[in-house]
């Protein structure tokens, strides 16, 4: 009796009674399916948590000049920082942002005679290059954002953050409102709705960089905000100083997001231990199912065992056959369970608009887990079958 014969016998028996085989296998299918699904879903869920965090943080690179011990800047960013950095592969957008030193001057709306109301405030004024608004993902409530023309011509225009707009009583732009910065009048061309980075912009007045240089003597941009493609931040953080300060790249301070890997590992280990426990329990239940049914089937097939012994089967042949049957059932259960688990992961992910993530070894190892389950489950029944005395076994009818 060779392997092919054993396999044929196995298939013949299992497919001779498909209903029973199917029900027996169901336990393993559910067990292995639950295991694969839980592993896949925990991985998927863990990845989503990190993924959400990723999108904004993992693409954020900030560059500022280092300061010396006494707080003085040791270098400065070039005016064309934005253009230099945009040339790097992996940068989606970049812009410079500086604090404008008003030297004690206040910002105010158009003077209104209101004895209780204050009309001039100490508001932060910032200077931005045209690309900054994209780099901080600014959205506009009304109006528009300044462009490169405003900066080169040093136009006296301003964009106001929503908090600052409220204090300055700015709500609409159709009558071309203006504000005072110091004693010069600036035309408000836009009111910001929100920004995703640099929340300081929300209560600030933002003027073009060129304007700040001419009106307030801004000597160099204060900081560079870079947005990278996902996964490129580490590389860009390395390249940006060289691009901006080829002679002394070490004088620039670069803030890049930490590698998200450790966060991910932490989340997974928590979820996995619980899920694995549940999945392991389901496989155990599946194994008990196979053991039980195989044992019943040994008792039912005493006559068949007797017949096989009469045809020349030794004890080991009988044991091998029952082991092969239970192992095949486990293996089939494992394959079906792995498929079911993958389907569950995909369907759940689809319903939550998640990206399904599954370690490739999980569905590949699942059939072997099923096979091992079947093998172990069949051990005792096959020993029982092999230990039957042929003369006794033949007394039973088929």
């Amino acid at each position: 009796m060779n392997g092919r014969d054993l396999f044929d016998e196995c298939v013949g028996t299992l497919f001779g009674r498909p209903g029973r085989s199917g029900l027996t296998t169901l336990g393993t299918v559910i067990g292995v399916g639950a295991l694969v699904a839980t592993l896949g879903l925990s991985k998927t869920a863990g990845n989503q948590i990190v993924g959400r965090f990723d999108q904004l943080a993992a693409t954020d690179v900030m560059v500022t000049p280092k300061t010396s011990g006494s707080g003085r800047l040791v270098t400065s960013l070039p005016w064309d920082s934005e253009a230099r950095v945009r040339r790097l592969n992996g940068v989606t957008t970049a812009g410079t942002l500086s604090d404008v030193d008003l030297k004690g001057q206040l910002v105010g709306g158009v003077p209104v005679q209101d004895p209780r109301g204050q009309s001039r405030f100490r508001l932060p004024v910032k200077a931005a290059s045209p690309g900054l608004f994209e780099a901080v993902r600014a959205t506009v409530a009304t109006g528009r954002l300044p462009d490169i023309g405003h900066s080169t011509r040093a136009d006296r225009v301003a964009v106001v953050g929503p908090t600052a707009a409220e204090r300055l009583h700015l709500t609409r732009l159709d009558r071309q409102p203006a504000i005072f910065i110091g004693d010069r009048l600036y035309l408000v061309i836009g009111i910001l709705d929100d920004v995703e980075r640099q929340p300081g912009l929300l209560d600030a007045v933002v003027i073009p960089e060129g304007t700040a240089a001419r009106e307030f003597g801004l000597v160099a941009p204060g900081a560079l905000q870079v947005e990278t493609r996902i996964g490129a931040s580490a590389l860009i953080a390395e390249q940006v100083p060289v691009a901006l300060s080829p002679s002394e790249p070490s004088l620039l301070k670069v803030v890049a997001p930490p590698e998200p890997r450790r966060v991910r590992v932490g989340i997974e280990s928590d979820l996995n231990s619980l899920f694995l426990l549940l999945g392991g329990l389901s496989v155990l239940v599946g194994a008990i199912g196979i053991a039980n049914v195989t044992l019943v089937s040994v008792l039912e097939r005493v006559g068949e065992i007797g017949l096989r012994r009469s045809l020349g089967a030794a004890r080991r042949h009988i044991a091998a056959q029952f082991l092969a049957e239970s192992t095949t059932q486990g293996l089939l259960g494992g394959i079906l369970g792995a498929s079911l688990g993958v389907v569950v992961v995909v369907v759940v992910s689809a319903s939550r608009s998640w990206t399904p993530v599954l370690e490739p070894w999980v569905p590949l190892a699942a059939p072997f887990l099923g096979g091992a389950t079947g093998l172990l489950a069949g051990l005792y029944p096959s020993i029982r079958a092999a230990s039957l005395e042929p003369a006794d076994a033949l007394r039973a009818t088929l």
């Binding site: 060779n2 092919r4 014969d5 013949g12 068949e304 009469s310 045809l311 020349g312 030794a314």
Partner: protein, 243 residues
Amino acid sequence: MTAVGLADPAGPSSDGAGSPACVVELTGIWRTYGVEPPVHALRAVDLVIAQGDWLAIVGPSGSGKSTLLNVIGLLDRPTAGTYRLEGIDVEGYDDLARAGLRGRHIGFVFQSFHLLPHRSILENVMLAELYRGEPRAGRRQRAAAALERVGLARRAEFPPSRLSGGERQRAAIARALLGKPSLLLCDEPTGNLDSRSSAGVLELLSELSADGLTLAVITHDEHVAGFASRRVRMVDGSLSVER
């Protein structure tokens, strides 16, 4: 305790050509079950079945017929005595070796046919070669030829449940014949059959015997025993010659 010596090589045998070799040679076989009190299923049985013999073993139920058949068929080990199958002393053979001998030399026919219900007749017959180490190639053809021999070629793909009792027993005989056994052991082969089916099976056995097959048939039906060339009777575990 009647020991029946039939070891005489010139003993009655349907095959008269020369001195027939002994297929089965039992000497002083005891088979005892239990200890207190011991039950002697076989008591000092001596029996020789020569090649080409058709031996009928008759006796009431519980007389030890089945135990004798199991010992001859290597399904049971005697408590004492010597058993030679085709001249080989099987004493000391382990389970694997006995199974091998059984598969190669002995064909079994049972009262209740023992056909696997979820396999076709052809597959049931093919089962006979499974443990014998025969090549897989041509197994289907050999099984089909065996079915042809018993007149069931047209039933090959049927499940056993669609065959009559007589046809089932003929299929079981075809399975036992596959691989040309030295000895065909039949345990009440017509016990579950009506008289017409019985006649068909007995006719088949007669043909096989005429072809030189050695047969040992257990029966309590005098009519069936009448077909045999030789007849022994079991009573309380002891064997006596009938004729």
